[in-house]
Symmetry: C2
Subunit: 139 residues, 2 copies
DNA sequence: CAGGATCCGAGGCGATACTG
DNA sequence: CAGTATCGCCTCGGATCCTG
């Protein structure tokens, strides 16, 4: 294959050149968890501190109990969030970012900032006629 | 584009509330595109330079033509990647990161690094007995 | 070579009802 | 309050065939 020298951004491409295909597998695995519809939002909401089940549900409009429960369970399973249940009455369960999730938090925050920064641009682009149309070429 | 006071701190993200609920909507929108199974991988692969359809398919094991086409179309629609078709024979179409996608590239790279760095930790956590079980409390 | 069209199964996801 | 259980829609996503 051709090399990255042609784009002039050679400095960005580090020691290993983007993604070694051998890493594709687990990158997919992790992205599958972290990149699904709700996980990032949960992490993002949790970055402001520990939160209870119902509060999470309120903070994330559109999520159903099913999905909130599933997502929290997944994240807890992966060790990204911690679950603490206090044996009181009424029952209280608090979810918080685990240290592992804490590192992700910064990335998610950047992603959200990027989204906030460019979402109008993206929406504008979506209204454009083509860029996806089978139009011509320019040799 | 508006500004590129990049890699610093924007006024959008406040100290306390992390994500203003009013932003939830488009965060979901963007995350839906960027956070799906394949988009990030395409962006990641594209970071090493422009690439043709078939090369992308080879670089991303497990992706089907349908999904590759769909993903590329979405990304092009959103202005994250550019599509250039050369009217030659045989036809040649090259996809590259658009400037908008270029900013995302860094974030995706961090995410991938994070994934590479912690994937074994995550897998280890997944093997743990509970943390998801409806067990007791720990006051 | 790049991608459109179609069929089809798996499961994501929401709505509702019930429990401790 | 914090879930679990069940049902059903509907999209995601892969396999296959076909075109320019």
């Amino acid at each position: 294959m051709r090399d990255s020298a042609d784009t002039g951004m050679a400095a960005s491409v580090g020691p290993c050149a983007s993604i070694p295909v051998e890493h594709m597998g687990f990158v997919r695995q992790v992205l599958d968890r972290v990149g699904d519809k709700w996980s990032m939002l949960v992490i993002a909401v949790l970055e402001s501190g520990p939160m209870r089940y119902t509060d999470l549900q309120r903070q994330i409009p559109g999520i159903s109990q099913r999905m909130l429960t599933r997502t929290l369970r997944q994240l807890a399973e992966d060790g990204l969030v911690s679950r603490t249940a206090y044996a009181e009455v009424p029952p209280r369960v608090e979810y918080a970012l685990a240290p592992l999730g804490g590192e992700l938090r910064d990335i998610v925050r950047q992603l959200i900032r990027w989204a906030a920064d460019h979402h109008d641009e993206i929406r504008a682009n979506r209204s454009r006629p083509d860029a996806t149309a089978p139009s011509e070429a320019r040799p």
